[in-house]
C-alpha cells in the first residue's frame, strides 16, 4: 500500500458531475483505496447524480470492484474447468478453514482476501492459486500453507 492516499475530493474533482463518469470514479476509488466504502459510494453517487441503488448494482456486477476492504494480500484460487478437476475446490476449502474466512471475503486482521476465479490461463500448471501477482502452480494444501506462512 502507498504511504499516503489521495483525498476522496481530489478523486471526485477529476470528473464532471455527470452520470456517465460513474464507472471511472468507481475504478479510481477502487485503485486508490483498494475498496469502495459506503461513504465513498455515497459521495460518488452525489457527485455524478446517480441513485445509490444503481451505483450499488454496478459496483456489485463487476468483479473488479469491492465493497469490502481488501486484505494486504489477495489469494485467488482457480476453479476453472481444469483446476476444478484437479482439486481446486479442496484448496479453497482449506484456505477457508485455515484463514477462517469465507470465499469472497477478507480476514478480520485485513491480512488476506480469499477469492475464487474461473481460469487464469495457466491450465498446464493446474491447480493454480494466485497470490497477489504470483502464480503457485501444481498447488497442494501443504505447498499453499507453506507459501502463506512466508508472507
Amino acid at each position: 500500500m502507498k504511504a499516503t492516499t489521495l483525498e476522496i475530493d481530489d478523486i471526485l474533482e477529476r470528473y464532471p458531475k455527470q452520470p456517465q463518469h460513474l464507472i471511472s470514479l468507481l475504478q479510481d476509488v477502487q485503485a486508490e483505496y483498494k475498496y469502495i466504502s459506503p461513504e465513498h459510494l455515497a459521495l460518488i453517487c452525489d457527485h455524478v447524480g446517480v441513485p445509490l441503488t444503481q451505483a450499488w448494482a454496478v459496483a456489485t456486477f463487476y468483479k473488479s470492484f469491492s465493497l469490502e476492504p481488501r486484505g494486504e494480500h489477495e489469494i485467488k484460487v482457480c476453479l476453472g474447468t481444469t483446476c476444478h478437476l484437479k482439486g481446486g475446490g479442496r484448496l479453497v476449502e482449506a484456505c477457508e478453514r485455515d484463514l477462517a474466512v469465507a470465499r469472497g471475503h477478507t480476514t478480520e486482521d485485513l491480512r488476506f482476501t480469499l477469492d475464487t476465479v474461473k481460469c487464469v490461463g495457466a491450465c498446464a500448471l493446474a491447480p493454480v492459486v494466485m497470490i497477489d501477482e504470483d502464480y503457485l502452480g501444481a498447488a497442494s494444501i501443504p505447498s499453499l500453507q507453506k507459501r502463506l506462512e512466508k508472507l
Partner: protein
Amino acid sequence: MVNLTIDGRAIQAKKGCTILDAAREHGIYIPTLCYHQALKPIGACRICVVEVKPGPPRPLPACATYVAEGQEVVTSSPKLDAIRLELMKLVLINHALDCPICDKGGECELQDLTHALGVSVVDLEAVKLPPHKDYVSELIERHPDRCVTCGRCVRICRDRVGALAINFTLRGYFTELASGGLPLDCEFCGSCIDICPVGALINKVFKYRARAWEVTRTEMVCPFCGGGCSYELWTKNDRPLRVVNYDTALLCGRGRFGFPVVESPDRLKTPLIRENGGFREASWDEALDQVAAKFKEITEAAGSAAIYGVGSPRATNEANYLFQKFFRTGLGTHQLDNPGRYTYVQALKGLAAVFGFPQVSGVEKVAKPPLPFHSPLTTTEEAKASGFPLVLGKLKDLPKADVALVVGADVTPELPPLGWALNTALERDTFHLVVANNRKTKFDRRAHLSLRYKPGSERLLIAGIIKSLLTAQPEWAPTVIAGGFDEFKENINKVNLKDVAKKTGVPEALIKETAARLAQAQAPAIIFGSELMGQDKGLENTLALADLFLLVGRPGAPGSALYPVAEKNNTRGVCEVGVMPEFLPGFVPLEGAEPGPTLPEMLDLLEKGDPKAPQALYLLGGDLLRQLPNRSRVEKLLKKVPFMVVQDAFLTDTAKLAQVILPVAVHAEQEGTFISTDGSLGLLPRALPVNGVRPDWQIISQIGSKMGFAMSYASPKQIFAELALGMPRWAGMAPKNGGAAFTAEVTGQFVPFETDISLPGRRPFTLLVGKSLQHSGSFTTHEPCGTLTITNRARLGLNPADAQNLGLAEGDFAKVTSSQGEISVPVTLTPELPEGLVFLPEHFSQPAAQRLTLNSNLVRVTIQKG
C-alpha cells in the same frame, strides 16, 4: 394491417405490434413471465419462445418480436415445450416454494406457469443461496428467494415511477434484487409489489389478511388525488384489505396504502350538536331537523342570501351538484363557492379569460335510456365545441407531446400520474423536458433544461420567454385565431430580458433556449401545479401561461395542451358541476342574476361586519382552517358566524367551530362520481358498509326536503342522470372516459398579465407551503393511514448551509415567524432547496403551516433555533 398465421390460424394484426400482442388479441395462449403490458418488453426470461418462419433457425421471444407480413408462427411444439420446461426448472432451482405462507399464493404467475407447463420435478441442483430477506423496510417486504429475476419491479421503478430505488445486485445465478444494501428509501408507491409476478415483494398492509380467492373485488376510482387512477378494492367481511391495479400496476403510496384511513378510530360516528360549550351526540332526525329549522329561521329573518355554502373537492359530483341546487334552486341565491378558489379556480379563470367559456353544439339525447352513470346525451356528426376545456390535456396524450414545459410544480407529489406520463414520454429521444422551479425537484434530474427561478417570479419568467421568442422571430404568429396580438406584443416589448434574468435569477441564455425549444416544438405541452396557482397572483400566473400556450401551442396536435394540476379527487368536478357563484354547471356563466361573493370575498364581508355577511355557513367538508391562508384570521371570522353546519368525516379544527356536525361516508362507503384532473369520469361504487354515517348527497337531499325544496332522490344514479342531462359538454361521458370527441374550435384572446413580482415584507427567508408525496389534503393524516409510517408529521425543509448558519441540525426544532404568526417545527436538511427558501407541507394540523401565511402559499419568515 399485417397478415400472419399463428398455429395455422390466419390472423390480421396491427403493424408494430408483437407476436404476443397479436396472439393475446385472438385468444391464443403464450406463456410469459418477464412481460408486463405496462412495460416495454425486454425478452429476458424466454418462456414465451415461439418458432417463426421466415426467421432465424432458433426460437424467438414472442413478447419482443414484431409481427411481419406472411409470418408463420408456431406457439407450441415438442421443441418449444422442452425449452420452456428447462427454463422453468432453472427458475425453480432456487425458489423458496413456500406457497402456503406466501401472500401471492393463489394469484402467482409462477404457480400458474408451473401448472400450465406441467413442471412436476426439478431434477437440477445448485447451491442454495442465502436469502437476504428484508423485513425492516416500511410497507414493503422483500423475499429474494422467491424472486424470478424478471426485472419487472426494477423496470417499473425506473421507467414509470422514475425512482430508481431498486436494482439487481451481483450477477448470473447470484443475481438478487436489492436496494443498495440498505432498507428501502424510496417513494413507497408499492408499484413494484403489484407488478411482481411472484411473492418476492409483499404489501405489508395486506400481509396475511386474506387469500386472493376469498376476497370481494370492486373496481373503482381512487378517491385521494385528482389523478383519477382506478383500482380494485379487496374487501372481506365488509372490511377493506387492499387495493390493486391490475392494469398498469401504477398507483402512488397514498392511493395504495391510504385506504385504512376509512377505519380510523377518529371517524365521527353520529351527528353532534353544540351544547354548553361542548358537543353532544344526537340522532340524525334531531340534527337534520335542527339544521333545517335554523336555516329557515335565518332566511325568514335575514333573507335567503344569509346562508352561504362551501362545496368540497372531496365530495362526489352528485353531492356537489345537489349542494349547488340547494342554493340556486332551493334558496334561490348564488351564495356559494369551493375552496379551490385559492388554487385551481384561479387557473380556470385565467384559462377562460384567454380561451373563452365552453360553447357546445350538436348534442342530442340518446335514444335508449342510458346505463347508470352514463351521460344521457350524445354528439351528432356536427358536434362542435370551443372554450378553455379544449386546451386542457389528457394524461394519456401527454407522452405524445414533443416538448413539455413544467412550471411551478413538483410533479410527483402534485400528481403522480403526471410523473408516470413524463417518464413514458422521456423514453422517446425526441422528447424534450424543460423544468422550471424555485428548487430542485425530482424531474430536474431528467430535464434537458433546468431553470431555477426565485420564488414567486414565474410570471416574469414567462414574460421573458415570450419576449425572447418574439425577439428571435418577429414574424411569429399563433397557430390558432388569436385576438389582441398586436397590443400584447407591444406590452411584451416593454419587458427587458436583462431585467428578467436579474429578477428571476434565470440566466438569459436559458430563457432564450427555452423559447427556442418551444418555438421549434410541434406539440408543446405546459404543465403547472398548485404551487403556482396558490399564490395571491395565481390568476396572473395562469394568464401568463395561457398566453404562452396561445402563442406556441398547437391544440390540434395530440399532447399539445395545458395541464394544470387539479389537486384533489374532485377539484375539477366541484367546479364543473357549478359550485362557484359565477358559474352554473358546465362552466356556464351566470347571467341575469347577481353572483354571490366568492369565498375570499365572503370572508372580507365577515371581517367588515357588512350587513351582507352570512348569518349561516353550510360547509360540505373541507377543513378550511387547515387549507386557507392566514389561519388565525379565518378562525376569527368563522367564529363570527352565528350558525355553522359542517359535513365531515372527522372532527376537524373547522368542525369544532360548528353548531352542528354531520358525519359523512368516505371512500367506497358511498356511490358517486369524480372528475379527474384530465376531465375523465371516475366511478366510485359502494363496497363498504356505512356504519351509521350518511353519504353527503343524502344529507343535502334530506335537509333540502325538510326545508320544502323538491330535492328527494333515490340514489346518486338518479342525480347523475339529472346533472348530466344539463351538461352538453359531458355528452358521451361514461365511467373511465372523458366524453365524446367534439370538433374543436380553439380560438383565443391575448390578455395582459402583471409582471410585478415583489413579495411583501423584509424577513430573510421565503417559506413555500406545498405538498408532500405521501399525503393528499388532510385526509391521509389520520391513523391508521399507511403512508403515515413514511411521513408522520410536518418538517421544515431547509438548505444545509442555511441550517448551519442557524445552528440547526436534522431534527432540531426551529421557530418560524411571519407577520401572521409563529410555529415551532423540526427541521429536515434538504439540499434540493436553494439557500433562503424553506418548505413546509400543508397537510398537518400540528404545526399548522397556514398560521404563517397571509394570502398566498409564499410568505416571508424569520427562522430561529428553538
